[in-house]
Amino acid sequence: MATTVINGKEVVVDDEGFMTQYDQWDEAIGQALATAIGVDMTDEHWKVVNFLREDFKEKGETPTIRRVSTAGGVDTKKLFQLFPKKPAKKMSYIAGLPKPHGCV
């Protein structure tokens, strides 16, 4: 666990660079995180990231790909196009949320 500077703001991140403090995130940071992993943000990307942020706030857990598809309205195929190869990891990274996890 360490702090790093993203877009001029000091934030706490874990070993893999995922932000750990929900309230330290803002859209400019999201944009900077996306650029860092080569994702070009469009309105569709923002729709997903905003859904993740709102859902996490309500439920205390990063939504799964299935939930983004059924409750967030962006289907799984599309998520793989928007965030190639590892959508679950990439979209939570950009949204400043923990990546999906199991219990061990």
């Binding site: 793989f80 996890h101 219990c103």
Partner: protein, 424 residues
Amino acid sequence: MRRLLILGGGTAGTMAANKLYKELDQGQWQITVIDADDDHRYQPGYLFMPFGTYKPSQVTKSRRATLNSGVDLQYGDIDVVRPEEQKVSLTNGREFAYDILIIATGVSPRPDQTDGMLGAQWRDSVHEFYSYDGSVTLAEKLKDWPGGRLVINIVDMPIKCPVAPLEFAFLADGYFKDKGMRDKVEMTYVTPLPGAFTKPIAAEAFGTTLDDKGIAVESDFMLMEIDNEKKALVSYDEREVPFDLLVTVPLNMGQDFIGRSGLGDELNLVPVDKFTQISTQFDTIFALGDANNIPASKAGSVAHFEIDIFVENFLQHIAGAEMSHKFDGHANCFIETGGGKAMLIDFNYDYEPLPGKFPYAGVGPMNLLKESRINHLGKLAFRWIYWNVLMPGRSMPLPALMSLKGKRTDLLETEQEKEPALSA
């Protein structure tokens, strides 16, 4: 007379009914449990049946006999809940009114939710061990399976007992070794998560366990369909994993009546307050155990600790008072690692599993996050505890809320992690 109606007479429903029966004034409250049949299954046993450790008869008891005789038990399938009228209808036309409703109908494996899962290979080379029938059928299959590519797969989270698929892999490794045919079996663990282990400290404790056992891992695998002709799993990013024998964990969902009643999320889980398990929509409805959407593991252990806290809150709620007790997401599970050994983990909403001693700091006798024989014996003894202590609603000598005593909190790196606010 006030009516408490409990849907589901499994782990959570039975514990809630038996505990509340002791607490409530029996002249004022009538407790009724509704379930489809009389077979109460010890679901943790499903993990062991495929390997012949448990016989089917050891995992089943009568619901009627497991419930206190003062609790009314009715059989039938639930059609719909009408929360505004405080009524529940069964498919056989019967109707039950309630003052308070507890939904404890759990989650079930849903092979119908993945394309191709119920195809020509179902129960032939495509198996699961999350249902009684599935576990019994898989035991038959394994008996004379000649070997080949064994693939263990999780379709999506959340699932009941999230470590069970890993345990299945470890136990299968031991099972084939004992049969002298481990060299004939190629094992792959296919998960939608970023890896087999996702919590840093637990991941370190497990270290190279999978590598050492020769189990390959395919991670970030979002299953799109099962190709029955090729006998392969196909992911959304067009990866294929071929199998001779697939043991999958189908998508887990709450019961369909929850969706029909407008009480569920996209997986038919009932949204509740994570501290009190009261419905976010109706103050006459609680959802306990796997049926709710709290961000904790779906496990009998969670239901047990949750219901200890719930009973206190319930008594306040029916007295018109504020519910002042907060469930912390506490879970405590044994993880079979094969070869007669097991690990033990203890964690909650805020703390990942940590090494240490349990239940007594410095003494144990159980070790947290460390393989030992005594942990394995603990897991086997748990079946007796389940039927004789937990289900009757007797108290365990364990606190409901997680304790940090005896845990290696020094392994956590930041102060926030060590003292998180229980408020998120």
